[in-house]
């Protein structure tokens, strides 16, 4: 009997270890391929139920580009072009493009000085001091201002994201508390991922959010998680099979990320 109990204990231990393999801990997981998504592959293919197995923190796009997505503490939030923000409970819903990881802060830096976007990025750059690092970044606290955007649902036939920037809706928040969830992805990962700094926002009340365009911090904490693996799950769709990857979309990605028309 004692042997049996020991065997059960052993199996439970091994099992918990296997269910969340070590590799996941430092892995940036991408569902979809950035350049294909930016190029017009807006149909969801990767279910949220699976996405939540790849991380508890991240950002992405809902099926058919119906706003913006954010993952925080294992919960998924959607901000639509109306500004409406809510927790997504239907885990059978799918995403065309999302980036997630299991967040574990390697560095925690309280910042009481007000910093604009450029100053904050410069500060993180100076702390990390390694332009080849993959960073997951969580900003938490109060912000003097936050400007976000969200896309309305795309209509078929889909055209590239850079050509529908006039459809995006902007939101300006003053003196707001909340979370920035995002990444700084090195240039050598261009193509599969959106490189550079990239954040989505969720207000503390979970009733406002969107893709971050600009901001000024007030009192925040910066949490940085260094990642050293990345994994990509590609859409198994005719649209992906036939997608023309030859076109250089790096300028398009920039204009989409900055929220500016070409």
């Amino acid at each position: 009997m004692r042997t049996l109990l020991f065997a059960i204990f052993y199996l439970i231990t091994i099992n918990s270890y296997s269910q969340q393999p070590n590799q996941n801990k430092n892995t940036l997981f991408t569902a979809g391929f950035a350049n294909a998504f930016i190029g017009g592959l807006y149909d969801g293919f990767y279910p949220y139920s699976k996405l939540k197995q790849q991380g508890n923190f991240g950002l992405g796009a809902p099926d058919k580009l119906d706003g913006e997505l954010l993952l925080l503490n294992g919960r998924i939030y959607q901000t639509q072009h109306t500004g409406k923000t809510f927790e997504v409970k239907d885990l059978a819903a799918t995403t065309p493009f999302s980036v997630v990881n299991y967040f574990e802060a390697d560095k925690i830096i309280p910042v009481k000085k007000q910093l604009n976007k450029a100053a904050l990025f410069k500060l993180v750059d100076s702390i990390v001091n390694n332009s080849n690092a993959i960073l997951a970044i969580h900003l938490k606290g109060s912000f003097k201002s936050v400007k976000t955007r969200a896309f309305p649902p795309a209509e078929k036939p889909y055209i590239p994201l850079a050509q529908i920037l006039d459809k995006q809706q902007f939101f300006n928040f003053k003196d707001i508390e909340g979370d920035f969830v995002g990444y700084n992805i090195p240039s050598y990962m261009e193509g599969a991922n959106i490189t550079g700094y990239h954040f989505h926002f969720l207000s503390q009340e979970k009733n406002a959010g969107g893709h971050v365009i600009d901001f000024v911090t007030d009192k925040i904490t910066i949490e940085i998680d260094f990642l050293n693996n990345f994994a990509v799950s590609l859409p198994q769709t005719p649209e992906f099979q036939n997608f023309d990857f030859k076109q250089d979309r790096s300028d398009e990605v920039k204009s989409v990320e900055n929220g500016k028309r070409e």
Copy 2:
């Protein structure tokens, strides 16, 4: 007691499932980053013991570029610049760059007609009919001719691979049986991976091999495994952190793969 036994059985079942997650089955795993490896990062960092957990089939380079590596049926073989080929038993040894997967043939095509390299690649292209697919490819059978190469150990300070092509040793085999282990990797994965067709060879007697430069098939079977995920484990070394990714190395990769000097 019956409940206890059932619990044990349940845990064993769950456990076996978790130890080899489904995602691995269709995942191309890369240890290292191709452009950094080609650029001179020849020091091994990823142990063979871990590599074997990511796949039972694949190819790569040994520590310090001491020849060429091949994985087949879960065993690792090394071919040195002398031509000496042997199974690697020391799993604590490390690789600077390897590409592996769990091979499961989705298509099996017997080919009795003699085909040169260009004709074989054209045949596979026509069977797959999808230039965005990630393919693991196993050729097995007899070959009229196989030309391979292997590098001698690199000396520090390391210089880019394209500048030491005069050091590679070539081997010509006639009427030989064996295995080609390799991939066709789509262009959108350039950077992290070596794109296009890429094979390493192992003779049936496991006493000859190398990176395949040219060949004519005799009677072979082509096995193709379609993959739809890829994962990359990056070196956590100062050399990788400081590596300059800005340089375009696509021409260098081509010359290295073809075995031709710039």
